[in-house]
């Protein structure tokens, strides 16, 4: 089977095509992904796949115009055809006086240190699944989940000598255990499959499911909460497109217009994008070297994610978060970390006098971008806590609240953090949070 190709194969092919391109400027973004994933549900393996994908994106600039053509076949002949078609597409456009030339400044790419990925073949994944199913069966519970590994190779090259290559890896094992109407969930995200905590994830999910049975209804209202790291990760996932994207700021659809530097959150909240802390590509899709970028510093909103185009408009340096250009979406930060707190995890929960412990949040979406309000559901283990101890499970609730309010009512952040998967790609490093108030707007009834 094809694996991630030897570095020289694609590099050589692309270099040759760049040299031969008749366009004034040519850029290639090559990406190749192999995802091995075993999926199980109701105590049986339901899907087991090896997914390959490969894309070569060709952008040309010629006579003040630009266009992009994507292909999945990667050979000299197809490349020549793709460049030719992209050139033809430029010819139908009007000249763009504001077109930004492709990146030509020398970039220094600081390598992201990935350990040897190791292997997790279908048999090893099946073994992990067998363990989860067997353990849950002993308690007459149902197990669902995934065991997966993903490897990606990305190359960005252009006519001006930009040549960036990066590799990413991600492994994940998650389990949802269900019994008598109760459900529990846990997940392990690591770089190397061998570091996945198969036993720990299974035990935590099962323990939650057993505690979650006979959940009682709770009226909507404001409650103190402890949000476990997965729930905090879900909240953080909303921020790249609601708060951190410089294009929204420029277009006037942003909560902090003219207020950069102002304090919006609790002083213990610091959020940054840093691929050397949360592994990812050390460059963006135009080849700009990624920089650690702080968005929230000690509660103050201090920064935005820029591609070269928004950076030019605001007269600042790009931060290395650009997507393949041209696009209408702006820059995306996908390797987010919230700074850890000083409170040990146990004490974060122990310090909750009366309130809710939330395992997971589900299906978050925007209510109003201008005040960062969002809505979503609790899921897979929501508990009423008194004096730091779980008293009983609670039926799921919908929350409607603003990120500004949630991150302003921080009582404690855990010193431990967990790696969570980002929705699109990338990862999020999140602590557990205790908040003095979260607004729950309606009950789910289960």
């Amino acid at each position: 089977m094809p694996t991630v190709a030897a570095a020289t194969d694609v590099q050589t092919l692309l270099s040759r095509a760049l040299a031969d391109s008749p366009a004034e400027a040519t850029e290639f973004v090559y990406s190749e992904t192999h995802e091995d994933l075993t999926r199980f549900g109701a105590n049986t393996i339901t899907q087991n796949v090896m997914k390959s994908s490969r894309q070569l994106s060709v952008r040309v600039q010629h006579q003040g115009r630009e266009a992009r053509v994507d292909v999945s076949e990667v050979d000299g002949d197809t490349l020549t055809r793709a460049i030719k078609e992209a050139l033809a597409v430029t010819a139908v456009q009007a000249r763009d006086p504001d077109m930004l030339p492709m990146l030509s400044e020398l970039q220094h790419y600081r390598a992201v240190d990935y350990p040897d990925p190791g292997e997790m073949g279908p048999e090893e994944r099946a073994d992990a699944v067998q363990y989860a199913i067997g353990t849950c069966r002993e308690e007459r519970a149902r197990a669902s989940g995934i065991a997966s590994t993903t490897r990606t190779r990305t190359v960005v090259m252009n006519s001006f000598g930009i040549n960036a290559e990066g590799h990413e890896q991600h492994s994940e094992f998650s389990v949802t255990a269900e019994k008598d109407g109760g459900s529990g969930w846990a997940k392990s995200c690591t770089i190397r499959p061998r570091d996945l905590d198969i036993e720990g994830v299974t035990r935590r999910a099962l323990d939650k499911a057993l505690k979650d049975r006979t959940a009682r209804p709770l009226p909507p209202g404001d409650y103190p909460v402890v949000l476990e790291s997965a729930a905090v990760g879900e909240l953080m996932r909303m921020m790249p497109w609601m708060a951190f994207n410089a294009l929204d700021y420029l277009q006037g659809q942003h909560f902090a217009i003219g207020k950069l530097g102002d304090k919006f959150f609790d002083e213990r909240i610091t959020i940054k994008d840093d691929v050397w802390e949360v592994p990812g590509l050390p460059f963006d899709y135009e080849g700009v070297a990624k920089q650690p970028t702080v968005f929230v510093q000690d509660g103050r909103f201090v920064g935005l994610a820029h591609d070269r185009h928004t950076a030019r408009r605001l007269g600042v340096a790009p931060t290395g978060h650009g997507m393949p250009w041209p696009n209408t979406m702006g820059a995306w930060a996908i390797n987010l970390a919230m700074k850890a707190g000083a409170t040990p995890l146990r004490e974060v929960i122990a310090g909750l006098d009366r309130g809710l412990l939330v395992t997971q949040l589900h299906y978050l979406n925007v209510v109003d971008r201008m005040d960062l309000s969002i809505t979503g559901m609790t899921r897979n283990g929501t508990f009423w806590v008194e004096n730091g101890q779980i008293v009983h499970p609670v039926q799921n609730l919908r929350f409607t609240d603003s990120l500004m309010s949630l991150f302003s009512h921080v009582e404690a952040l855990s010193s431990e953090r967990e790696l969570e998967s980002a929705f699109w790609e990338g990862n999020i490093l999140a602590p557990t949070l205790r908040l003095s108030k979260m607004h729950f707007s309606s009950p789910a009834g289960f």
């Binding site: 089977m1 994507d70 199913i133 006037g252 309606s442």
Partner: protein, 500 residues
């Protein structure tokens, strides 16, 4: 000038009768020799063209061409799937053998061996009917259309962003199985839309047309673009966005609610569509998307909505984004009631799971995104059948209420019960007349209570097949398209105006 679309090399997928068929046969044989009791091969080639004009300039102009093969097998009673872009015989045979190895690993953790509902063997070709091939329309013509639209949209200073698009897609798929089925299918999709962002008065407000999230799409040709009447509606939508900047917020409380067809589209999708996918119902999606409140004991007897509510799945309806000849199990397209006169009737099934609810054959709902994903149960076209009301008469019949239009956001719980939707714009209804505009409207409900409160549905003249082009499901994640037909409908006593 008509630009030639980049054509992948004519072989191996361009000529089925020539070199590709023997290669696919070799892959099927390799799978059987390795121990597969069933195998199918899908060679898929997808062309896309996406054109976006933003604030007077080309915002996106990209074309793509993607080709590869996915091989699915049953061996040792378990599923295995592998995919490759290497379409040589060597590459496809290796892919088939890997799929068998993966299937054997699956067999280590099975409750019961996978079995497929019987299905006839088909040798057929099917393609989307269309009048104008969207790939044959010159780019200059598309650009000129969008540039003129852009000019109309930005003719007021409050408009910070105007974005309009036209996109088209053609998917050619060859499906061959060890049962002898061979289906050559070509699906063409086309559509477009626009949105404007108005900024002022300390606020920013968006309006879209004909629907949000890149507009309205169907399985048809370029003729859809003229039918959408984007130019004709540009000034109205632009002015509504500006009016929203000074509109009052949607009031909080319970009231009668009229939803337009474009919003009902997503309401149907989330609260009926996903809830009736049989894999969810059986708990097979519990770890990710969730399960469903429509448990199998409810089939045929559960009251899903009022007597007026008829929801019909139809993969044969002309123009539907999920309209096709056969699904990826090789099962012919079908039409059936999911809800009839308010009572639940049926689930979306595939050949693997139909037997779990006592059905002898699949309802043809198994689809995969492209070549590198395994087919999973997908919502087909699913529509709320029209009623008898004129919209004007329905508004006149509503003493106090709110009319909401165009989806802005959506959220629903893991059992598909508690939902909350936001819309772009709303209007007060007072004494049977539309009144002032409201901004940031939203509403919340519980699925069967909500559909149970439906007491009026507008007629055929107001009905259209609305599109969902970005339905995500599964791990690895897959995107699928489908349509939901709807006309405006009224729901009594709904919670509106939920805010932080």
């Amino acid at each position: 000038m008509t630009l030639p679309m980049l054509d992948v090399k004519p072989l191996p997928v361009g000529n089925w009768a020539g070199r590709t068929k023997p290669i696919v046969d070799a892959a099927l044989n390799a799978a059987q020799l390795a121990g597969a009791s069933y195998a199918d091969v899908r060679v898929v080639r997808t062309r896309r063209e996406n054109l976006v004009v933003k604030n007077g300039a080309v915002g996106e102009l990209d074309r793509s061409n993607d080709v590869g093969v996915g091989i699915r097998v049953i061996a040792g009673g378990g599923w295995g799937f592998a995919s490759t872009y290497d379409l040589t015989e060597k590459g496809m045979v290796a892919c088939a053998k890997l799929a068998v190895r993966i299937a054997r690993a699956s067999s280590r953790a099975l409750e019961e061996a996978v079995g497929l509902a019987p299905e006839k063997v088909y040798r057929d070709r099917w393609q989307t009917p269309y009048q104008i091939d969207p790939f044959s329309v010159p780019l200059e013509e598309k650009l000129a259309y969008l540039m003129e639209l852009d000019r109309l949209l930005r003719d007021r200073p409050e408009i910070a962003v105007a974005e309009s698009n036209i996109s088209c897609q053609r998917e050619r798929q060859w499906l061959a199985s060890t049962e002898g089925t061979f289906i050559d299918q070509e699906i063409t999709r086309c559509g477009g839309g626009f949105e404007v962002l108005a900024v002022g008065n300390g606020d920013a407000q968006t309006r879209s047309y004909p629907a949000s999230f890149r507009g309205h799409h169907k399985t048809m040709g370029y003729e859809i673009i003229a039918a959408l009447k984007m130019h004709e509606n540009a000034e109205r939508i632009r002015d509504e966005a500006i009016a929203l900047l000074t509109a009052e917020p949607c009031p909080a409380g319970k009231t009668d609610l009229i939803l337009t067809g474009s919003q009902l589209c997503l309401q149907i999708h989330e609260s009926v569509g996903h809830a009736n996918e049989l894999d969810r119902v059986l708990g097979l999606e519990s770890n990710y998307a969730g399960a469903s409140f429509v448990t199998t004991d409810k089939q045929g007897q559960f009251r899903y909505g009022s007597d007026l509510v008829n929801l019909v799945a139809d993969s044969t309806v002309p123009g539907g984004l999920a309209t096709l000849g056969y699904d990826d199990d090789g099962v012919p397209a079908q039409r059936f009631h999911v809800v009839q006169d308010g009572i639940h009737q049926a689930y979306f099934t595939n050949r693997e799971l139909a037997h779990t609810i006592g059905e002898e054959s699949s309802r043809g709902c198994n689809r995969a995104e492209g070549w590198n994903n395994i087919p999973i149960i997908r919502i087909p076209n699913l529509s709320l059948m029209p009623g008898t009301w004129e919209l004007e008469a329905l508004i006149a019949d509503t003493k106090h209420g709110i009319l909401m239009d165009t989806n802005r956001s959506w959220s629903i719980d893991q059992m598909r019960l508690n939902f909350q939707f936001g819309c772009e714009a709303a209007w007060e209804i007072k004494d049977g007349k539309l009144g002032k505009m409201y901004k940031n409207p939203n509403y919340q409900g519980i699925t069967p209570e909500f559909w149970g409160s439906c007491d009026a549905i507008c007629d055929n003249q107001h009905w259209d097949l609305w599109s969902v082009v970005n339905c995500g499901k599964g791990q690895p994640g897959q995107t699928a398209e489908m349509s939901h037909g709807a006309s405006p409908a009224r729901f009594r006593d709904i919670v509106c105006g939920i805010h932080a």
